[in-house]
Symmetry: C2
Subunit: 503 residues, 2 copies
């Protein structure tokens, strides 16, 4: 324990999760570590939920995290009915249902922005931070575990800090983090980071040790989850994108090592990254949020020279090996606060190639990445907005259909806009790739339909465009029909136009 | 002339506008100086249009500028029918009509992005740059006139450069510009600018003098235009916003000098700025695009300590005085390339308060700032996206109704999205101000209706929200009705629900 808690006086603050949960009262705001189910505090949230179930006490808390957290936080706290507000991102099915019912207020935010708003007082006061750590330094500094997320700002701004010291997490994680907190505005220094592999901060989260009110020892693994696995269509999407990159390099538009890559989470992203193994690229770099399975394979094969992220999220089948071989990755990975991994300043400076997933896109290239049929949220906008707006190249990928072909992912007008056409350079489905750079909306529509739409929906989309163009406009629409595809899906379970409508 | 053209060999390249226009051939791309009708090249575009009219020759050019340019460029070239593509922004009525008819392809872009795309070759080759200047230095460097816009990159990337040396523009403009070009990515240095009034570049646009193929002497004033004047409603919008700022300062959320201000162009923006004169603020700063009339009044009264922009656009009644008193403003104004005035890195670092105009907003705070009824473009997104996404505080203003009350600017769903709810912190109409920070969509809707909607439309909006919420969702909608207000306006000339619909 002396190796894990190096400041002697803090060893006296070891307590049970129940005792630590005692610091949490009705009406408080909690800031909990965790990003994409990695490095979340686990024991204290569960103890709090248990307590509320046991005592029946009225409890309403605001819950802030880095991004999505595991069942041990979102599921149990939502189930216990004690979360009144949640931000900035989630991906738990049960919590999502409560949000869509309107039982929990969900403030869906750009992931780089939350800490700016906290520090400038716009979101109110933070009462308690609960942060998972692998060690505490001689000065009380917190060595985070598998994610950094928003924890540095939570530690700085919270009245009280509780640390979950997780002995299951590898001590080799120490030294892999780089903690940097930008100064206050308007007199802020430029972020000094110029290269993906550069260190600009400390290996620990600085915190006033007097604020650490409790240390809870835990031994619980990250709640790794299996991704939806890839299939023929995700492979085809990956192939289209890799062909595009190869063409860009051949034509001299991109350097052979491309630009630093950002990749969203999920099957398509993983397929694109995996596809890089068989492509001709070498010495690539990543400047991304989450480091998934494929990142470690690419590091192993030498295709990827360096990966900067803010969390390591691997599947159960890879977790053990990655964690055991962590010493091999120590010089090839840096974990940063999500504010830094997603910072507009750095995304623009480094010239990131951003690759994110669309739920649906419209013929003009506007993207919906969050709301099913415009109303019900899936997860949230996450970091996609930070990257898409400020990147060198913004790519969105989606399969051309969903729901066994009953839903076209290419529609006349998206039912919810997360990314406007100005922020969508390349759109890829298994059908093909549309390079929309420099095109006007009337050109984008023809190209998106030709390249990306599923053949079953092409005629109907073309028919829409032709009738819309008769009405004129920079972005032609038949306004009373623009959302009719979603309406039809709602009423009939399919976006397909069936015969009777023509009668 | 020696004072204006200081490099001797360049004096030999003085020619007529007709001769200079001779460098322009069918199929070329032109990059023309100008931002918000300030500092545009004037003579050569007119000579080109004349030539085409005279000869009847087939001519199709791509036209790139900083932002909107005056009739001498957009009007005459569109009238001559020789523009095939236009970017990144325009505001000419005749050109707009051609765009909405689909006769001209208009690539509407974030104003900071165009030059990045040009430099990385994504928009194709630039044949000829035509740049208005007040002088040419000993080394051939170009001293721009009343705007910088995209001219530094045009000069760097064009095969040939034509200079319009405008002796009507004040020589006192020399020294007011600060030209900085970021290096290539991914190994770019941080932008060194840390304060609004800091200089980081040169007073001239560097250019290879051998590329300067012609210098045309002109004596034509900027085509200053009268703004739509303010009225009682713009005054009320300004009052709400100023009250909000005062409250923020009192509560300690903002410093007494606020944060650097960005302000869009137009009557409301001018009213807000003018309103500052009578408020209690001192030592404010601006980090904006266009410096309008009110900026000079604020500098005179000492309310504003410094203004950074990329163009000076004043009305005819103020132009003469401002230009005659330019020496008084030389230490208080810097004109920068629009890439720098709108750079995400600097907007985030400086903590800008962004104030832009909405055409319409929806109950959830999504903003349409470009497309009338979702299809016909007014001007373009301009710099609003650069600022709204990356600012410390993003404010959008609009009157609550348009078209004599027949159109509600607050609608169930905007017919086109330029700014998502994530990028809209504060919404203001003459009715009131909605502070949307940290709120979930279901909270935003009630507040927007209560604070911002016109009383004539409140009941209908509330009725919509209540019925939408019965269907559930993070962002409730009655999808088949979401755009019905626009449809009704299209069919009846009014968004008002008339009695017969209830029968």
């Amino acid at each position: 324990m002396e190796a894990r808690i190096r400041m002697q006086k803090l060893r006296e603050r070891i307590m049970t999760a129940d005792e630590a949960a005692g610091f949490i009262q009705d009406g408080m705001t909690l800031g909990i570590s965790g990003f994409t189910r990695a490095g979340d505090a686990k024991a204290v949230p569960m103890a709090l939920a248990e307590r509320c179930k046991r005592t029946g006490e009225a409890m309403h808390i605001q819950l802030w995290t880095g991004a999505s957290v595991a069942e041990e936080v979102d599921r149990v706290l939502a189930e216990a009915g004690i979360v009144s507000r949640r931000l900035p991102y989630q991906s738990d099915r049960l919590l999502r249902d409560a949000i869509n019912r309107g039982d929990i207020m969900y403030t869906d935010q750009h992931l780089s922005l939350t800490v700016e708003m906290i520090r400038s007082g716009e979101l109110g006061r933070l009462d308690v931070a609960i942060i998972e750590a692998v060690a505490i330094t001689e000065n009380g500094g917190i060595i985070p575990s598998t994610s950094v997320g928003n924890s540095p700002t939570f530690a700085a701004m919270a009245d009280k800090v509780i640390i979950e010291l997780n002995t299951r997490q590898s001590p080799l994680l120490e030294g892999m983090h780089d903690i940097y907190l930008p100064g206050p505005r308007p007199h802020r220094e430029p972020l000094p980071l110029k290269e993906v592999n550069e260190r600009i901060g400390t290996s620990y989260i600085p915190v006033d040790p007097d604020k650490i009110v409790g240390i809870v020892l835990t031994d619980r693994a990250d709640h790794f989850v299996n991704m939806v696995s890839g299939d023929e269509e995700t492979e085809m999407i990956a192939r289209h994108l890799l062909d595009f990159f190869e063409t860009q390099v051949k034509s001299g538009q991109m350097p052979p090592e491309l630009y630093p890559l950002q990749s969203g989470v999920g099957a398509v992203s993983n397929a694109v990254l995996s596809g890089l193994k068989n492509a001709s690229f070498k010495n690539l770099t990543m400047y991304s949020e989450v480091l998934q399975d494929a990142v470690f394979e690419l590091l192993d094969s030498g295709v990827l020279a360096f990966a900067s992220g803010c969390a390591i999220t691997v599947t159960p089948e890879h977790a053990t090996e990655v964690m055991q071989r962590l010493h091999e990755y120590r010089d090839k990975i840096i974990l940063r606060p999500q504010e830094i991994s997603n910072h507009p300043e750095l995304i623009r400076r480094l010239g990131i190639i951003a690759m994110n997933t669309a739920l649906e896109a419209d013929i003009y290239g506007n993207v919906n990445s969050t709301h099913v049929c415009g109303t019900h949220i899936m997860n949230g906008i996450g970091g996609s907005g930070d990257f898409a707006r400020n990147s060198l190249l913004s790519v969105f990928v989606t399969k051309s259909t969903a729901k066994n072909g009953q839903v076209s992912s290419i529609v006349p007008m998206v039912s919810h806009v997360d990314h406007t056409e100005h922020d969508v350079d390349i759109l890829v489905t298994e059908q093909g790739l549309a390079d929309l750079r420099g095109l006007a909306p009337r050109e984008r529509s023809r190209l998106v339909i030709e390249q990306c739409a599923h053949p079953d929906y092409k005629d109907a989309l073309l028919d829409y465009v032709e009738r819309a163009e008769l009405r004129g406009g920079q972005t032609p629409h038949v306004i009373e029909e623009a959302l009719s595809w979603h309406q039809r899906f709602r009423e009939t379970g399919s976006m397909r136009i069936t015969e009777p409508e023509y009668v």
